[in-house]
């Protein structure tokens, strides 16, 4: 944890209070997903793509995106979030034709290869240049191994990810 994060945490203290919400919005499922799960990036209200589960990224060349995940990040059950977690998330997602409710325009080209190059580093080898791929990672949920084993967005239970979100 960085010094800044430690100071903020100390100043803020422990989480407190319970809020009861009645949410009629049809996106409630997404709010809950986005508050319990992280993706490599988040998007601000202004539409800016910002690192989330990733610490940083760089374009190695026009078709190779290198991502470094945070070293101090872990899932809620204690399992470390590593480069392998990212590779697993991508591999699970790319199996399906339409893994996202909004539509297939969030799909990363299925010919993309995700290579783990270190404990914290993965490289996405794209078949062709795609300037939107960083934003598309907003829809790639990085989940724990236990999740993929027990639930897996319905993959494990129903043997299919199509239409299950």
């Amino acid at each position: 944890m960085s010094v800044t994060q430690a100071v903020v945490r100390r100043l803020r203290g422990s989480p407190r209070g319970t809020v009861h919400v009645v949410d009629g919005n049809p996106l409630n499922w997404l709010y809950i997903t986005y508050h319990t799960v992280e993706e490599l990036v988040r998007v601000t209200k202004q539409g800016k793509v910002r690192p989330a589960a990733m610490r940083r990224y760089r374009w190695v060349d026009a078709r190779t995106l290198e991502v470094q995940v945070r070293r101090d990040n872990a899932f809620a059950d204690g399992e470390a979030l590593t480069a392998e977690s990212v590779r697993r998330a991508f591999t699970e997602q790319v199996r399906w034709v339409a893994p996202h409710p909004p539509g297939t325009h969030f799909n990363i080209d299925r010919r993309t290869r995700c290579e783990v190059t270190g404990p914290d580093t993965v490289r996405f080898h794209l078949p062709e240049a795609d300037g939107l791929v960083l934003g598309k990672l907003r829809a790639t949920h990085v989940m724990s191994e236990r999740f993929w084993r027990d639930l897996g967005f319905g993959y494990a239970r129903d043997q299919s990810g199509e239409g299950h979100w």
Binding site: T18, I32, A53, G154, W165
Partner: protein
């Protein structure tokens, strides 16, 4: 879907109880080659509880709350009663109906917070309707010119909506579309509307206007405008519960008879943080499977087909 509680992710909260996900069923949009779209239904447990993940890496983002409890066991009316007049049982209610906004503002305990919605309400027109001239662009323009959108916004939405020039709600990225000489919403012009309607041939039977139940008041107001300014008879049908899903299915599958001539339909973005990114694509794909009614039209589909 995350349809069971567990320590699945690394976010600021842990899903500790219940679930909120989507249930889906297919609507076949093409048999050769086979293509389908999904009709979504919400699948929620009566209560969903999120517990703070105190090890979350970003202390700036949170979590600030120990628990968030989503109550899905209350009707919209019960929720408003509790947030306006109760104490501690409900703290936040979203999606306050326009008709109830004043009540919240008058409440001494609740505060109304307004945000720009990423959704649009539009009328889907069946161009193939028998006995109506809706295949004629003059008739479709007449429908648009006859509806007083400003009055709709003022009287039914409490001023908390705005007429749109297209299907994409205004956002900072689409501001240019509201610049002078760019797209503008249809004005309310009853004289021109009546002239165009007559020129298109008029109707030989009542126009059937349908709407989802949330938009019942809007449907009756639109019907009133059409009757008054076009002299057309209008029959209003309000769809409830399973009827709504069935209407969406028939629209997506482009069945020959929809049971309506104009359907008031709401379209929202599922990416609340980046609607300009999603809307063009979703409307293009929706136009192929949903927003254009009637039989397949090759020229239209070629425009609507994603690259």
């Amino acid at each position: 879907m995350i349809d069971a509680p567990g320590p699945w992710g690394s976010g600021p909260f842990v899903l500790a109880e219940g679930h909120s996900s989507l249930d889906t069923e297919q609507a076949v949009t093409s048999e050769g080659p086979f293509a389908c779209t999904w009709l979504q239904r919400q699948d929620r447990t009566p209560q969903v509880r999120l517990r703070a993940n105190t090890d979350y890496w970003d202390a700036v983002r949170g979590p600030h709350l120990r628990e968030i409890v989503f109550r899905n066991d209350l009707s919209r009316s019960e929720a408003l009663d509790l947030v306006c007049d109760g104490e501690g049982e409900v703290d936040i209610v979203t999606e306050v109906p326009h008709a109830q906004a004043d009540r919240v503002e008058r409440s001494t305990q609740a505060r109304l917070v307004c945000v720009d919605a990423v959704r649009a309400l539009a009328g889907v027109i069946d161009r193939d309707a028998k006995g109506l001239p809706l295949h004629d662009v003059r008739a479709r323009r007449a429908l648009n010119l006859a509806v007083d959108r400003t009055a709709l916004v003022r009287d039914l939405f409490g001023g908390r909506a705005r007429p749109l020039a297209g299907l994409t709600p205004p956002t900072p990225l689409t501001a240019l579309h509201r610049a002078p000489d760019r797209l503008r919403p249809y004005p309310h012009d009853p004289v021109r509307a009546a002239r165009l309607w007559r020129a298109s041939g008029g109707a030989t039977r009542p126009l059937r206007l349908a709407a989802m139940h949330d938009w019942e008041a809007v449907a009756h107001r639109v019907a009133q405008d059409l009757r008054q300014h076009l002299g057309v008879r209008v029959e209003v049908t309000i769809l409830h519960g399973a009827e709504e899903l069935e209407a969406r299915r028939r629209l997506a599958e482009k069945t020959a008879s929809q049971g309506w001539d104009v359907l008031l339909l709401e379209q929202g973005s599922q990416t609340a943080d980046v609607p300009p990114l999603e809307h063009p694509a979703s409307f293009r794909s929706a136009a192929r499977v949903g927003w254009r009614t009637g039989v397949e039209h090759p020229a239209h589909s070629s425009v609507a087909t994603l690259p």
